[in-house]
Structure formats: structure tokens, C-alpha cells
Assembly symmetry: C2
Homo-oligomer: 327 residues x 2
């Protein structure tokens, strides 16, 4: 593989650089003029750890690598800006394979207005992607961290959860697909293979005064615990209010699993979990709803104290082990 | 390995965040307020491709990963700012090993004023480091790319070259160390194991009006060719003027190699190659000299045309194959 030739082909496939770019890919470093504040996050996907090539296409892997990185920017309420990619290529992958992967990456970059502004291509024993993304906001105060939840705030969630866990079950046990219509099975599988970063919802929640926010990568139970710990508060989740992914219940029952435990313990949904002052919930719900991509649901409350509690509809509490064992 | 516990220990070992950081490591993304322009570059080191663990300590590997990334910022004339690191850890490395690696990284970060502002820790089949660095300047115009060399400009080089190539020879053939004093052999070995990014010299050259600049990672021959191609000019290198690393000649002769070919074709010296208008050379030489780390040497000239030519002292020209075969 000729690195320089391949990089030239990669550049041909990219959208024109965004307005902040002064020098793009091809120099020692990319030059940007950010203005305001930046949010920067880095995420890695390693073959055999985060994905299997017999279950996902190269285009899907490329798309997921960018999607999971951008999800962190969504959780800050940032606007997507630039991406920088390290691609470690194993010997059995050729130039066309690399370009298929780049095409998946580039498609999501174009959809989200992200510029691929730099990268490094290297040999590696297994397919490895490390993606750094830079997002933007007018000022640091417009960005939302994990540490601002206050007692009295309302806990809200975008979209539906448990879909990625169900999709993973379907990949591991293909016979489970018989439990749901074919289109539902496909949607659940894609949910896990190519997550959608909730960039628009993240900005809407930030504008509506979200006091804290996180994206669900580890699972609702674990990520709510991160919010509670960073904010120094207690978080109560009403399990009966959780918006469960369509088909999750049928797949879970067919697999002999509890749908609620999958929804609470399953990772990779990449929905946004946020806290809002009670007076801003209607505004936030309307703003997220207007995007058409993922409705906002109230799923709990913040109080003084520490830790999280997940209340089941009957009044019982889901034991921490109920989600810990699924992580 | 508990990821969260290890990350907490890593954070304890880091210097306090720099002035541009609003939210550091531990949230979904780091928040910075850059001001002016940023230069961003990403570099990966993969075990078995870029380093061998039987030749370098983990602290050296951590230091080199940051050093090679920062060298790209030096080549833009940027001030070091933030670093974001993906660390892929193979099963045989434990927590103490990771912390030794982080210590090497953190030492250079402290020396250069770089804040480790985020990262991702993952399992991987071999030790893998992907480092994104962000540098800063007052404006995009203060940063120096590869494409601005003009006919009539003078070609200058910081420090000495060929040391890393000699260090690599010493690692591959330990008996060659007998050709030089022990301290010289050690210095050459370190030259290859822990390169120094020329950040101060890069800023001095940018301030003195450098029209183009690149860091020597591939080797003088290859990197001069990159400058010439990006600028659309011809570059002539006077091989007799090249500042050769102390001990290079003796090691090369003992290995049956030509010192000049090692100096021109050997990579990883991470010195800066720049072009300057003739009227600014004295100012640049004084400014780089005042730093005390690496003197500036005039090694050639820029003219109209294309490609590079390396003139030997006798008047002959070093054939392109003379450096290509060494890359």
C-alpha cells in the first residue's frame, strides 16, 4: 500500500473543508480558526474488542468510529467541527478496503458537517481506528458537562433505549430474529452497528438550559451513575417511564432476558441523558421534538444525596447488580 | 485492569491544566478556549511497526509518542497546547506498566507546557498509541505550512542530522558501539529513542519569516522533496554543508555505510527544515542560537523548477535512489 497515493485518494472523497479550516489535510498540521470555545474528544475502535469484521461491513465500522466520537460532542451540546483519524490497517486489507471504510466515515461526516482535517495511516496487527473530534460553541458557558445536575432537576432522555443491546443479541443468536418482523430485526441490528450521534438534540438541550448531560455508551445505569457522581447528587430513574426500543421486549423474551435489564444495562444506544430545571422541560421537549429525530422523555428526578436508584413499576428497586452484570 | 481507577491514577500524575482549559480530562469532552488559530496533528506509534519493546523502555515509548506528535506542531511554528491520547494496551501489560508509559509522556508534557486533556484506554493486541496534539498561535497567518517556499529563499536546518539513523544501526548491531566513545553511543541511541520536538526553534523560525517549514520524520531527502512539491519549487541541498551528528561518521564506516547517505536518507531526526528570505537568515540564526538547544545551519537554496538535488562536495549529485533506498 502506497501511503501517499492512498491519502490522495482519500482526500478526493471528502467534502470541501468547513469554514473554520485554513489549512486542511496534507501539511504537518491542520490550521483552524475556532472562535469561541472548543470541545474535543477521542475514541478508539479496535477489531476484536469493539467490533468484529464478520458482523459489520467496513463502511459500517468507519461510520461507527466517527459516530461514537461525535456522540461525545453531542453530549456537550457542541456543533460538530473537525475530525482527525488514525487508521491502523492489518496486512489482509487492501486499498479498496480502506476506501470502503473511509466512505462510511465520510458519509456521516458529510451528514453532520464534520471536516476530516487530518490523519495518520499505519500498519497494525488488527483494524484499529482512533478518532479525535473537535466541536464548537460560542463560549465555554454554552457547553454542558456532567457535573451541573441540581436537586429538583428533571431527568430526561432522547429517543429509545435497549435497541443496541437487542441488536447485539440478534448478532450473537441469529435465531432470535424470528421473534420480531424482519424490518424490526434489521433496525435493531443497525442500531448497534451504526449509532446516530444526537448532535441536534444535544444543542437543543444545551440551549434549553440542560444542567448536565452525558451520552449513553456504557448503558443507562452506568452513565446515570457517572452523572450523579460528577454532580454530587442522587438520581432516581422511573423504570416504568423508560422509552424502550420497538422489538426489544420480544427479542429479550425470546432470549430469556428481562427487557428492562437490557434497557438499563445495555450499552451503545448513544442517546443523551440530561438534567433540566423543571421550568425548562417543556421548552426542551418542544425543541427536541421539532428536530423530528428523537423525542424527549422524562424518566426521573434529581435529589440531594448520592448514587442512583432505578424504581420498577411495582415499587421495587432494580439491584445495582442488575445492570452491572450486563456491562 | 479497572479503566476508571487507572484513569484516576493517570490524572494524579499530570501537571495542572494550561490556561486555555475550561474542562479537562474526565467529562465527555475537554473544553478549551483557544483564541487565535490552532494547529492540530495526529500521530500513531504501533508496537512492531514503530518501536520494539525489547529496545525501548515504556517511559521512552510514551515520551516518543508525544515527541513525534509535538514535532509536527514545531514545524508549524505553533505553541504546544493540549494532547489527547488513545492507549491500546495488550494483555501482558499491567497497571504499573501503563503508569510507567504515562510518566514518560507526562514528563515531556510538563517540559513543553502541554496539557493531557483527554484520552481513551482500550485493550489491543499490541501496544498502540495514537496522540492528537493541538497547538496555538495568535492568528492563522503566524503558522507556517509546507507550501510557501519561494525561488531565492535560503534552505536552513536546525541541529544535526543522521543521529537517529546511527542510533538505529547501533540498536540493530550492538557491536558497532565499539566504534565510538560510550557516551557518544548512548547519545545516538537516545536520539532515535526519545526525539526532541524543536518547538522553540519552530516559533523562532516562524517569527523570523520562514516561508515554509517541515520536520524531518522521513529523512532530509524525502522531506525536502515534500517541501519542494508543496511549494512548486526546486530545492538544492549542499551535502558538504550538512551538520552531521557527532559519531555518525564512525558508526557508518564501522557498518560499511556512507555517512552522507545515512544523514540524507535516515528518518526520525525530527529537526526542522525551513526556507527563509535571504534578508531574514541572520535574524533567524540569532533567534534559534539564543535558545541554546540547536543551532541553525544554511544547507541549500530554493530556485524555480521542481524536485530536489543533493550536491556532493566534489560536484557530483547524490542519486535519488541514494536516499530512497534508505527510507
Amino acid at each position: 500500500m502506497g501511503e501517499f497515493e492512498l491519502l490522495a485518494k482519500v482526500r478526493e472523497r471528502l467534502a470541501p473543508p468547513g469554514p473554520r479550516i485554513r489549512v486542511g489535510s496534507g501539511d504537518d498540521a491542520a490550521v483552524t480558526v475556532p472562535g469561541g470555545a472548543t470541545a474535543t474528544s477521542v475514541d478508539a475502535l479496535v477489531e476484536g474488542v469493539h467490533f468484529r469484521r464478520d458482523r459489520a461491513s467496513l463502511a459500517q465500522i468507519g461510520r461507527k468510529a466517527l459516530g461514537t466520537a461525535l456522540s461525545d460532542l453531542a453530549a456537550m451540546g457542541a456543533e460538530a467541527g473537525e475530525a482527525y483519524v488514525v487508521l491502523g490497517v492489518p496486512p489482509e486489507l487492501g486499498e479498496d478496503d480502506c476506501l470502503e471504510l473511509v466512505d462510511g466515515f465520510a458519509a456521516l461526516a458529510a451528514e453532520t458537517g464534520t471536516t476530516l482535517a487530518g490523519g495518520d495511516l499505519t500498519r497494525a496487527p488488527v483494524l484499529t481506528l482512533a478518532v479525535t473530534v473537535v466541536g464548537h460553541a460560542g463560549s465555554a458557558e454554552e457547553l454542558v458537562g456532567r457535573g451541573g445536575a441540581k436537586p429538583g432537576d428533571v431527568l430526561v432522555l432522547t429517543g429509545e433505549i435497549g435497541g443496541a443491546a437487542a441488536g447485539l443479541l440478534l448478532a450473537e443468536q441469529p435465531r432470535l430474529a424470528e421473534a420480531v418482523p424482519a424490518r424490526t430485526a434489521e433496525r435493531l441490528a443497525l442500531r448497534q452497528l451504526v449509532p446516530t450521534p444526537r448532535l441536534g438534540a444535544g444543542r437543543a438541550l444545551a440551549s434549553a438550559g440542560a444542567s448536565s448531560m452525558i451520552d449513553l455508551s456504557d448503558g443507562l445505569g452506568g452513565d446515570a451513575a457517572h452523572l450523579a457522581a460528577a454532580s454530587g447528587v442522587a438520581i432516581d430513574v422511573d423504570a416504568g417511564a423508560l422509552p424502550l426500543a420497538d422489538g426489544l421486549a420480544a427479542v429479550a423474551v425470546a432470549a430469556g432476558r428481562d427487557p428492562l435489564e437490557l434497557a438499563v444495562g445495555g450499552g451503545e444506544d448513544y442517546e443523551l441523558l440530561a438534567t433540566l430545571p423543571p421550568g425548562r422541560v417543556d421548552e426542551a421537549t418542544a425543541a427536541v421534538g421539532a428536530l423530528g429525530a428523537a423525542r424527549l422523555t422524562q424518566i426521573g428526578a434529581v435529589s440531594a444525596g448520592e448514587g442512583i436508584e432505578i424504581r420498577l413499576p411495582g415499587g421495587a428497586t432494580l439491584a445495582p447488580a442488575g445492570y452491572d452484570q450486563l456491562r
